[in-house]
């Protein structure tokens, strides 16, 4: 298995705070890699560095063998990296289908940008397939803002998939979900892992251990440890820094 994404010495400081400090790891193809760590460990900042929302002050990001360090968020998205957000981030006045259509239209050639929206074709087909897969049929004409929290989180993942990314970055996809919804989302991520590489931030340790092929532990901006779930659970350093607190 090859590495889809690799990070090499990624760092950024805000004032004196080293939010992400010399973090390196690789994300293998078609695997679930999860970043864990206590609040303030720098997980979301790391996601922002990878997805182009922030420019790293040092280090390198490589996506499928290509150096993509410092690319804009839009360019990263086009390079095949889609991300979701910790706080739901949709076009809430637009309907579910419009949200998905917007997310899928990047699949169509640029030459279609000034033609009428097509009812057939790659983007339109993708939208219908996602509506089906994510069981959003009954809600397609609802504004995204009117959906339940769980539905909004599902729509968010669906929108990320709409661009057919190589790697899907999910920032706490189960945040604020009920127990049942969390279990469903876990199942969904497991299914998705068969077709797309997943990089996850997750707090539900049970879920992390069950889902992940590889776990990266962050603490105070640095990488504390990485390895398989079992090895991470057994690591005394990790236990002291993370599990010990819980």
């Amino acid at each position: 298995m090859t590495d889809v994404l690799s990070l090499d010495g990624l760092s950024i400081a805000f004032g004196g705070l080293r939010a992400v400090d010399d973090v390196s790891f690789a994300v293998r193809e078609r695997a679930v890699t999860t970043v864990i760590g206590p609040n303030g460990a720098g997980k979301t900042t790391l996601f922002n560095l990878i997805s182009g929302a922030l420019k790293p002050q040092a280090g390198r990001v490589t996506l499928s063998g290509r150096d993509v360090t410092g690319l804009s968020s839009a360019a990263m998205h086009r390079a095949g990296l889609a991300r979701s957000f910790q706080i739901t981030n949709l076009f809430s006045e637009m309907t579910v289908r419009e949200n998905l259509r917007l997310a899928a239209q990047v699949l169509e050639p640029v030459s279609h940008a000034l033609r009428p929206l097509r009812r057939r074709g790659r983007a339109a087909d993708k939208v219908e397939a996602l509506i089906d897969r994510f069981s959003l049929d009954a809600k397609v004409h609802e504004p995204a803002g009117a959906l339940s929290h769980g539905e909004q989180r599902r729509l968010e993942i669906a929108m990320c998939l709409a661009s057919e990314p190589q790697i899907l970055m999910l920032d706490e996809p189960t945040q604020g979900m009920s127990h049942a919804d969390t279990a469903d989302t876990g199942q969904l991520i497991r299914d998705l892992a068969r077709e797309v590489t997943i990089l996850l931030i997750e707090h539900d340790i049970g879920l992390v251990m069950e889902l992940s092929d590889h776990v990266v532990v962050m603490h105070q901006g640095r990488k504390l440890a990485e390895g398989g779930p079992a090895a991470i659970r057994a690591d005394p350093q990790v236990q002291a820094a993370y599990f010990g607190q819980g």
Partner: protein, 342 residues
């Protein structure tokens, strides 16, 4: 099975058709009764409607409040007047004004799009004031008097030709041009490109994660709006025979904004209705009292308080419900069919 954005645009088209019908009836009645005053007033309203349309592209779709959109209207008007004084040719004047608005829109966009929100509003305001003041103080551009003596234009349209002095002819020509601007903008907003523009207003911070540069999309919308204002402005000296720096002053930009709000933000056609209503009201009230601005101000406040969605808000929701029901009735089981085929 239609998108809300599509249904919404269809409702706008219905209201535009109503406006065209009303315009044709008005034109027929006015020319039958030999009226000149109201035909020319209606023509002016439509030209100002073009400026209001430009404001609505930014405010209603892109989510940008421009307080200086009259800048591009004024540039179009001045360039058109200069061309017409040198060489009275309709298409040359329109072409030159379009080119000037394009260049000015790019330059203005590069400046204004560095900031967002209230700062954007202030910068657009400032840019218009600066250019207006420069024009006001430039003797070659007629300074405070403006450019007068724009010759009456002979407009060749294929086999026929008519004079801009012909009230009905020029009214109809203006209607066609403003209609084409409306149609072009409505079309543009219905394309994938347009969806990105609409996405800017809905949630700009999410747009980069769809694979589009928010800055580039904002720039494009800004330049399109400048073009619309510039082309509308090019018609102004043909109607009035002069241009003056007041065209670029804040009062012009502010009036256009009021037209959009009274008509209905984010509907395109509302800008045109708002322009007609406000222009006619100003003229009628202005003939009764000198203090017509007080009345207009009162109307503006009342419109915001009692018709937050403007004049269009009175009929559009019902139209959209009807269009939606019709779309559903036409394709009752498209969803079911799609599901079984997968």
């Amino acid at each position: 099975m239609r998108d809300r954005l599509e249904i919404s645009m269809q409702a706008n088209h219905g209201l535009f058709a109503a406006l065209v019908t009303a315009g044709l009836i008005f034109g027929a009645v006015a020319s039958a009764t030999g009226d000149v005053f109201y035909l020319r007033l209606a023509t002016e309203a439509l030209i100002l409607g073009g400026l209001a349309l430009s404001v609505d592209i930014l405010l209603g779709f892109t989510g940008l409040l421009s307080l200086g959109q009259a800048l591009y209207f004024g540039i179009g008007a001045y360039v058109s007047a200069l061309v017409l004084r040198a060489a009275p040719d309709f298409w040359l004047a329109i072409g030159a004004a379009t080119g000037a608005a394009l260049v000015a829109g790019i330059v203005g966009g590069l400046i204004a799009n560095r900031v967002r929100g209230v700062y954007f509003a202030l910068i657009t305001f400032g840019m218009a004031q600066i250019v207006a003041r420069v024009v006001y103080n430039t003797r070659e551009l007629g300074a405070s008097d403006g450019l007068i003596g724009v010759p009456v234009l002979e407009i060749p349209l294929g086999p026929v030709s008519f004079s801009a002095d012909d009230p009905l002819g020029f009214f109809l020509l203006t209607f066609v041009i403003i209609g084409l601007l409306y149609g072009a903008v409505a079309y543009l907003l219905s394309t994938p490109f347009g969806r990105v523009i609409v996405a800017l207003k809905a949630n700009e911070s999410r747009v980069p994660y769809l694979g589009y540069s928010a800055w580039a999309a904002r720039m494009a919308a800004y330049v399109v709006a400048a073009l619309v204002a510039g082309i509308a402005g090019a018609l102004y000296p043909m109607l009035r025979g002069f241009v003056s720096p007041e065209l670029m002053f804040f009062a012009s930009s502010g009036n256009a904004l009021i037209m959009v709000v009274v008509g209905g933000v984010g509907t395109l056609v509302g800008a045109l209705y708002g322009a007609v209503v406000l222009t006619v009201l100003k003229s009628v009230i202005g003939s009764l009292t000198e203090h017509h601005l007080i009345v207009v101000g009162g109307i503006f406040i009342a419109a915001i308080l009692f018709m937050p969605k403007g004049l269009m808000g009175l009929v559009r929701p019902a139209m959209m419900r009807w269009l939606l029901a019709r779309a559903e009735a036409r394709a009752p089981r498209s969803g079911a069919v799609r599901r079984t085929t997968q």
